[in-house]
Symmetry: C2
Subunit: 254 residues, 2 copies
Amino acid sequence: MDIPKSHPRYESLLKREKIVEALDKGILAKPGLIAHGRGETFDYLIGEKTTDIALESIKAASALLVLAGNPVISVNGNTVALAKEEVVELAKELNGKIEVNLFYRTKEREEKIKKEFEKEIENGEIKLLGVDDANKQIPNLDSLRGNVSEEGIYTADVVLVPLEDGDRTEALVKMGKKVISIDLNPLSRTARKSTITIVDELTRCLPLLIKYVREYKNKSRDELENILNNYNNKENLKRMLNYIGDRLKSLEID
Amino acid sequence: MDIPKSHPRYESLLKREKIVEALDKGILAKPGLIAHGRGETFDYLIGEKTTDIALESIKAASALLVLAGNPVISVNGNTVALAKEEVVELAKELNGKIEVNLFYRTKEREEKIKKEFEKEIENGEIKLLGVDDANKQIPNLDSLRGNVSEEGIYTADVVLVPLEDGDRTEALVKMGKKVISIDLNPLSRTARKSTITIVDELTRCLPLLIKYVREYKNKSRDELENILNNYNNKENLKRMLNYIGDRLKSLEID
C-alpha cells in the first residue's frame, strides 16, 4: 500500500506496514502483531508524543547506561522490525552488545534476525549475542525463554529491554540486574517491575536515548548518580497514569 | 498452546488464539491482528467488564433493532473469528440477515467466511449476503469497500457494525441509515459517527444484545421509542471517557 506522507496517521500506518512485513519475512511471530496493536492504543492515548514524564525516565536511563560496566540491549522481533537502525546506533555508543531474546524462540527466527544485522556484525560495529551462544539460563524461567548468552545478558549489570514480557523482566531484576524497559503500557508487569520504565514509543525514544547517552558521557559520575537518585520509577508511572487519565477526561467528542 | 482455565488472563489469551487461528485459516487479514491488539488495550482499560454506561447503549441498540424494518448485521474477519455463534444467534432473533463486509476484500476471504456459516445457511437459519450479491455501491467509498448487497446493507434501515472502520460508518450514516457500532475505542471515528456506539467487547456484549432484543419484543413501540429518546450517544461516549480516565487515575502502581 502507498501511504501519502500527508496522511494524518502516516507514521502510525508506516509502522503498521513494517510490522506486517516483518511477519512476512519471518522475523516476527503472529502474536507480535497483536502486541503491536496494544502499543498503538497506548501511544494514541498518550498523544503520540514523548511526554515530559517520559523524558525524565529517558534521562535517568541514559545516566544508568553511561554508568553501566557491561550493558546489553535485548532485542525481539518487534524491536528489530521497527527500530533496528536506532538500536545499532545506541549499541555503538555503548559496548556494541545486542542480544537476541525471543518470547517465541525458534532457530529459524533467530537466524532471520541475525541476518538483519549481518552488515553491522561484519563491520565490527556491534556484537550480536544470544543466537549461537545462548547457553546460560536465567533462573525461574522455562528453558527456551530463559536461554541467554554468558557474555551478554547473563553477566550484564544493566539490560535495556524494549518491548519485553513481565516474567522475564522480573526474573532479570531478581538476578540483581538493573532493567530499563521501553513499554507503552504503564500498567504492565514489565513497567512495574523495571528499574526504569520509559513509557514512550520505541522509534521516538531511542533517538533521545542516543542523544542523552552522548551528552552524559561528558558528565561526572557524581552528576550521573545525582540524576539517578532524583528519579523515582513508581512515581513516574503514577504521573503517567494521571497524565493519560486527565487527557482522556479533557477530550471532546465532536 | 494449552492455556489453563485458571490463568488470570484466560479469556483474553483464548481470544488471541482464535484470532491467530483465523489468520491461519485465511478468514482474517494480517492488519486484523493489529486491530485486535488495539481493542485488547481498550478492554483492559475499561476493566474487561461491561460497564453500566455500555449497558445503556446495549439497551438503546436493542430497542432500535426491534423497531427496525430491515436490520442487517455486517460482519468482517475479526467478528467471525471471535463471535460467529453469537452473531448467528442475534440474526435469528431478527430477520436472519448477515452481510459480509470486508475492509481488505478478496474473493478468497469472502468465500472462506461464507464457508464458516455453511451449516446455518443450509438450515435456513440465516441469510448470508454480500458475497455473491454485492452489486450495489455505497456512495463516497472506493469500489471494493463500498460494495454491498441490495437486499442487505443497501436497503437496510438499521445496520449493526461490529468492529467497523470510520469511513464506512460515516458513509452509511450519510445514506440515512441508523448505525449501531460495537467499538472498544470511544474516540474512534466509528464511535463518534455512529447512531449508537456500544463501547464493549464483542463476545461480552452480543449475549446482552440477544437478551434485550428478546425481552424488548414484548414491549410496545412507545416504550421502545421512549428508551431511544432518552439515550444520547455523545453523552454516553463522554461518560465512557470520564470512566476510563477516572479508573486510570485511581489505579495504584504496586
